[in-house]
């Protein structure tokens, strides 16, 4: 029960977001909060979803 509670709390943690610069291709994984996102987005980084690894990879 307590483990479920801990997992529930963890699921409410701030989600991570992948940002990629469209010109350099640089990828950053940051917290999905304005404080973390704005400085990178201001430089032109854009949200993207990395491709899922192939099964067995």
């Amino acid at each position: 029960m307590s483990e479920q509670h801990v997992e529930g709390a963890a699921s409410k943690a701030v989600p991570k977001v992948f940002l990629r610069h469209p010109l350099t291709g640089d990828v950053q994984e940051v917290e999905g909060t304005p404080a973390a996102l704005v400085p990178l987005m201001g430089l032109g980084y854009e949200q993207f979803t990395p491709a899922a690894p192939a099964k067995g990879a």
Partner: protein, 337 residues
């Protein structure tokens, strides 16, 4: 049978277009306050000024281009302000796998692109067994928005106005099935918090009214480049790039003994300006200017009470790497995605 303006169905593209000429695949239906219908205006030129005809009158007309633009004036809801800021600023991050979704929005970086995400606009007015108007405008961009707050009760205390421009690409009839009206969560000014240069204007009960604005100064003429395309023989825009963009922030506040605004102006002190307005915790908008000085402080009066109107001078901040950002929460996911 004539049609009444209240029959207008206004659909705004939810997901951004894949490119400037491909219509959006999903729409949000909004109510609005103004009664302005969008007119796809074909513009023609003529030969009146040309010599050699024997007179100064028109003998021939020539198709030139399509001119499409309109405004949307609304009470400020979390849903519409999110939509407007996403398309007006352009760089959008959405987090959350279920409602409420959180959006972080900043102006596009001109080092990576000059084009904002494009959206589609559909307008339909039923008449008789058909439609008086059924137009789908493809490849639209926001020229400017203004968020306005005022003292006083009700939804009119917090409004959002958007001016948008189209490429001229048009599909009529639209063949779009617009969904039901969005259940909007209006954000009254009574919910507002406002801190500017370290001064909490709500706690001191001084704030009266104000506006936050963003203008893209789109380079509309440059959209008519050679090869941009024709529609019905009239040229349409093939791009709409940002010009010299201009953020703005102006507010009117009661003037008290010891009010720091004039001192802040003279010293050109800079600080952050943060305005938050909300319907509830899941439907909110926060506008942030990370660095702002005052440009003008002008004495005035409001309802006989001495006040000042402060015009801010937003500055680019080298830590935030932006001049302006917006963070919102709302129940609609996928806006400008």
């Amino acid at each position: 049978m004539p049609a009444r303006i209240q029959q207008l169905i206004l659909g705004l593209g939810k997901a951004k277009q894949a490119n400037i000429s491909t219509a959006a695949a999903s729409f949000l239906r909004f109510k609005k306050l103004d009664m302005a219908l969008t007119t796809p205006k074909p513009v023609f030129e003529n030969d009146a000024a040309e010599i050699g005809k024997g007179h100064e009158f028109i003998t021939q007309t020539f198709p030139s281009y399509y001119d499409v633009a309109n405004r949307i004036e609304k009470y400020a809801s979390a849903e519409f302000v999110t939509w407007a800021c996403c398309y007006a600023l352009g760089n959008v991050t959405q987090t959350g796998s279920a409602a409420p979704y959180a959006y972080t929005i900043v102006p596009i970086n001109p080092g990576t692109t000059l084009e904002l995400p494009y959206f589609s606009v559909v307008e339909q007015v039923a008449e008789g067994s058909g439609s008086a108007i059924d137009n789908l405008h493809i490849g639209c961009a926001i020229e400017d928005f203004t968020y306005q707050f005022n003292y006083g009760p009700g939804r009119a205390s917090s409004k959002m106005t958007v001016n948008w421009v189209g490429t001229g690409l048009l599909t009529s009839p639209s063949a779009v099935t617009v969904p039901a009206v969005v259940a909007e969560n209006n954000m009254l000014a009574g919910s507002m918090s406002l801190t500017v240069n370290g001064v909490d204007y709500v706690a001191t009960k001084r704030i009266l009214s104000g506006t936050i604005g963003w203008k893209n100064n789109l380079m509309l003429n440059a959209g008519f480049y050679p090869g941009s395309g024709l529609h019905n023989g009239l040229q349409v825009r093939g791009r709409m790039e940002i010009g010299a963009r201009a953020p703005s922030f102006q507010f009117t506040t009661r003037l008290l003994s010891g009010s720091p605004e004039y001192t802040t102006l003279v010293a050109q002190t800079t600080g952050t300006a943060v305005l938050t307005v909300q319907h509830d915790a899941n439907n909110s908008v926060t506008f942030t200017f990370p660095q702002m000085a005052f440009q003008v402080v002008e004495n005035t009066e409001t309802d006989g009470i001495v006040a000042i109107t402060v015009t801010g001078a937003p500055q680019y901040n080298n830590t935030s790497n932006t001049v302006f950002s917006v963070a919102t929460n709302c129940a609609i996911g996928g806006i400008a995605q």
